[in-house]
Symmetry: C2
Subunit: 692 residues, 2 copies
């Protein structure tokens, strides 16, 4: 097929471009990440119990497993009993040209094409990596239809924009068991991410078994670590899904847990305990001690044998230097080497560790801090500080990946992550050759406030928007389309066993208590649906008591999703109403229904407020929601009457809104801004759109 | 403590009897099954992160594991991080006198006492079985409170009414994987059931690995069977939870799957295929062939080595005799032995198999049909036909367990199962000694219409009501109390990993499609919440196509719970309104809100009806709900006006109700009866309570 047939500007609109039929008749394709090129055809391919898959060309056991996994997943999505056997007339043919590398490498060909007609479907890919991506695309296309399950006729040619599309999970601050990691790898496969960055050590825990230095995990993990067999198991699991595993052993800071068993590595006197609090701590490795490097050499030797990936992450972030400052021996060393700053000390350490890693045949990845001009060119800089450092590194010929802007723990809405592009900001000024040095990005799930129960919900579905940013063409930026597709892909991810939706009603039931009636639960859900945890790094400061790793994560702030769908939809409704010069009767009616429910919710929640300390904590927020809704209803009343509202009314309402915008019990009341917009529009008079 | 302190008539009321404070101040104890004796004390025991358990007296590894499991479960319920280590000042002391039997036996002591004070708690039990029950009782008592998680001060002395409290799961018609069985064993432990009856063979599958006769599973199971290692694993898992495992190999009928690999066992000519349909089929073992008994002898020898329980279930149900009638050799045998009926033939077979089982040191359990006067007295009759056969057996000195009335697949409400007592009906006329022969009962989950996705929801929570019937004193019969506690225990069971609630929104999302909006999903849920699958054995007859084991279970009828909570609560509200002589304004307002939502629901569901074949199927039911709700609203309007409604109005409304009561797409619209009651009350005039 000639490329001239690719007529779609993908991602510009929900309804993909015309392929003979009118836009209205086109199905919306719930694809995420959106493929590079999509052409919608005519008709549908029915998916029923006779569905089967056949592999041609290069085959290998991994592809067979991928097909079996595909069939199981298709069976879950549809509840169709599907035979694992290939048939003589397969519905879907998957042709693979040749094997991929024995150990998956950065930049391997991941492309594929997918063609679906009403008769059958075909995936063509140079390597198993592309074939597996094609299978995932097919899964996303299967939808319920008026005549059964079906995939729309479509032709897709697809390949990633960036070769490094990662998710980092911090398993140290809260331990995340292997099965939870596995289901998140399933999620990564579904959205075509290809690097799992395993943040294995921290002040709060050393989570990988070392046989050479067993005290690392026996004394540094409370028994919560992965055995070497488990690590190998996860690596194999990841490889089966086209995912590389990059381990991180964070040093020379963020390493208190190492020192519990090995105080001799530290720059300050021991003994050390596993750190239970959050923050940046003083302990750091003694960079002047040759024994430190000998230890690291042996540990890196052991770990690089277990982790096959070419890249090895040495951390390097957030050394506060206090132990170095306090250690006379290190101060002498600093003077004798003429190091002006602690950064220079760290540069020395980084260089030494890089040489060790290189000696064992690997290339280093490190956080911003490890970038020192002059280091070997095969290093990869992971930027947590911003695009400036990434651009700076690229300008000097260094590879980088972006994580600033992709921190899932900060509680940003998907749209905000989605707007972050690895080649924007200062990187936009780079030459095309320099931009090529930017390999992609990684979302980061730091785990101060997540545990196995809620971690899925802190990663998904928002991570899918980041996955799209890293895979799809740069011009795929339509936010409304992203949210519509995110909603669909989120539903689909559930069939993988991810609990990012199911955890929520269950946590709310714990908060409400087993005796709560359905009505009381609805009241709690109504409130919980419109709040979000406070953003960025505000939770430590506002916590009722200093949080530690032993603090139960059972509060409303731990239960609610980080992005309120209900508040976003309410905001869209307000926009629609206001932009209609406050005359859209349907929008007005919907707003009134919603606001009335919110206004009346506090009284419905009272029985639970009386009964549960976890609900009592949000009593003030519940009152705020009622007050806020009353403001919104008053605004609607004014809009109904027409004419401008009196100034003092507006002042009063804005004062109420100002009040409810203040975070309480670490929660933000999300509809506040939309109701403020409503008040301001109404106060401006009949043609309220003018105020927008 | 003297028994004179036990002042409570348990189960009589939600609020347990007075213990110093007034009834209003008493907590409701969400216990199920309700213990034999409960005395509520003053105050609460706080449950926080310092909670710990210590074992005293007899200890064994199983008790240690039970405590660890208890702590994990308590941690799930509360999200408190609990240390697995015992402390010097334990919150809960568990004292066990002596070990239980190496292989758990029928009738072992399962009693325990539990005492909770504001300072600490104590469980005392003669054996680990009682200690484990006590731990489960404690878990049910932990609730959220205004001041944190807590258990009320309480003193409990408890023991089971019946020694045989079982759940049977048919893993043959649909294969149920090991992990699904395990979570159901967890559920059984929570409600103190102690027998897992594993229905391992059927026409549709032979699910246990035989190394002696591997063709049984390789040709008779589509590869869906349990290996012997898996079986041993499950038995150990059950023993850890105080649960015996009774295997069933159903013969001489219900055995088509055996004949696929071993046609020589059958009474008719082969070859045989695994049966894919439901019902009673002709194939039956050749009872005249000595090779049959040799085969069974070797199989029983193999299986009794794997299954340690003293009881071995040989099935014996529903032999239609057609193959026997058609086989001249068997007819000759019948004549030569002077057997008048096929029942007599089966009696001969049963006796032979019983001798084999006895030879291998086990006692036989069989369905009603195996009861032939004169068989050895250690046989146990499992009654699926009714209490009459159970009473008949007991009258002749035979042991029995009741399953009639406990068939979970029939779709009965919990209250109906709850009303079935093993010693009621004809058994009530037995002497006390004869009644002692009734060992208890078993709920049965036949699996024509269940699979791993929805099976939990077909077992739970209703099975907990049966568990209570078999454990608690006979006078624990208050249905309102049962439902209130069932609601709480159902929430608690979720923390075990049972999916009896979580499956439901997920199945509805599949039915609706990934693109469904929240509003559309709510509309589907509103409809789904008030329908139930048609009852008893009606699904075959009314199915759109003959159902088989390959029929997808993805329809609304497969998704909705078997008992509609929403309809039950609506019925209670109608009762309240009608009994107030239709003057209860609050009830009227609630009824109006509910009915309005139902009336308007059909139009909200239309987009999904257009888009999904699975929703389209229930379009008529959706219209019925709207029509039914309109009738209810009209009745409220009349009640509001006062005076009797005209006769023709009543006739019209009842005609509508009659119409919507007809099952459509195998669904019943459950609020129909309550609305009929409302119409009849209103039609009778102002004092509408008179019609009740």
């Amino acid at each position: 097929m000639g490329m001239g047939h690719w007529v779609c500007a993908v991602g510009f609109t929900l309804l993909l471009c015309a392929g003979g039929a009118s836009a209205q008749e086109q199905p919306r394709l719930n694809l995420m990440p959106m493929p590079g090129n999509v052409q919608v055809g005519s008709g549908i391919l029915r998916v029923d119990s006779s569905f089967s898959v056949a592999l041609t060309g290069h085959t290998e056991a991994r592809l067979d497993r991928a097909v079996q996994r595909f069939l199981r997943q298709l069976s879950r999505q549809t509840a169709l009993p599907l035979s694992p056997k290939a048939s003589t007339k397969p519905t879907l043919k998957v042709h693979t040209d040749h094997p991929s590398k024995e150990v998956q490498e950065l930049g391997e060909d991941e492309s594929y094409s997918l063609s679906i007609t009403p008769d059958d479907a075909k995936i063509d890919a140079p390597t198993p990596l592309g074939a597996m991506h094609g299978l995932q695309t097919f899964l996303q296309l299967v939808e319920v239809s008026p005549d059964g399950f079906a995939a729309p006729a479509v032709t897709i040619q697809d390949k990633p924009r960036f070769p490094w599309r990662g998710l980092m999970i911090d398993v140290a601050r809260h331990f995340i068991p292997l099965d939870v990691l596995k289901r998140n790898l399933d999620g990564m496969e579904a959205v075509k991410m290809n690097v799992f960055h395993w943040h294995l050590s921290e002040d709060q825990g050393f989570r990988a078994e070392s046989k050479k230095f067993p005290k690392l995990q026996t004394l540094g993990s409370d028994g919560l670590y992965y055995t070497q067999d488990e690590i190998r198991d996860l690596i194999a699991y990841a490889r089966d899904r086209g995912i590389r595993v990059v381990p991180e052993f964070d040093m020379p800071g963020h390493s208190t847990s190492w020192f519990v068993g090995h105080p001799e590595l530290a720059s300050g006197p021991g003994p050390y305990q596993i750190e239970r609090k959050w923050g940046i701590f003083d302990p750091a490795m003694d960079l002047t001690n040759e024994k430190t490097y000998k230890f690291l050499d042996e540990l890196v030797a052991e770990m690089t044998k277990i982790f096959p990936d070419h890249y090895f992450h040495i951390g390097g972030d957030e050394v506060n230097g206090k132990q170095w400052d306090a250690n006379p021996k290190i101060q002498d060393f600093k003077k004798s080497h003429k190091f002006a700053t602690n950064e220079a000390l760290q540069a020395y350490f980084s260089e030494r560790v890089q040489k060790i890693v290189t000696k064992h045949g690997k290339a280093v990845v490190g956080w911003d801090e490890v970038f020192i001009p002059g280091v070997p060119k095969d290093i990869v800089i992971q930027s947590w500080r911003g695009s400036a450092s990434l651009a700076q590194a690229a300008a000097q010929g260094y590879h980088g990946i972006l994580s600033n802007g992709y921190y899932l723990d900060l509680g940003w809405p998907a749209a905000r992550h989605y707007a972050v592009d690895p080649t924007s900001g200062q990187a936009a000024n780079l030459t095309p050759e320099q931009q090529q040095l930017i390999l992609g990005g990684e979302s980061c799930m730091w785990s101060e406030y997540v545990n196995p129960e809620n971690v899925d919900s802190r990663i998904w579905p928002r991570n899918a928007a980041i996955a799209e940013r890293l895979w799809s063409p740069q011009n795929v930026t339509d936010v409304a389309s992203m949210y519509a597709r995110l909603h669909a892909v989120s539903a689909q991810l559930e069939w993988l066993g991810l609990t990012h939706r199911a955890y929520y009603p269950q946590m709310l039931r714990r908060i409400a208590g087993q005796s709560a009636t359905p009505e009381q639960l609805t009241a709690l859900r109504t409130l919980a649906d419109v709040v979000e945890p406070t953003k960025e790094y505000t939770r430590e400061a506002t916590a009722p008591a200093e949080p530690t790793s032993a603090t139960p994560l059972n509060r409303v702030v731990d239960a609610v999703p980080l992005e309120s769908d209900a508040a976003r939809r309410f905001g869209e409704l307000v926009d629609k109403f206001v932009s209609s010069t406050c005359r859209e009767a349907d929008a007005a009616a919907q707003l009134r229904t919603q606001l009335s429910a919110w206004r009346d919710n506090d009284s419905r929640l009272q029985p639970l407020i009386q009964r549960s300390f976890l609900v009592k904590e949000v009593a003030a927020t519940s009152q705020d929601l009622s007050a806020l809704a009353a403001v919104g209803l008053a605004a609607l009343d004014f809009a109904n009457k027409g004419g401008a509202a009196p100034d003092d009314w507006k002042t009063q309402q804005l004062a109420v809104i100002e009040q409810v915008k203040k975070p309480k019990s670490q929660l933000l009341l999300m509809p506040a801004s939309a109701i403020q917009k409503l008040v301001e529009a109404v106060a401006a008079g009949g043609n309220c759109a003018a105020t927008r």
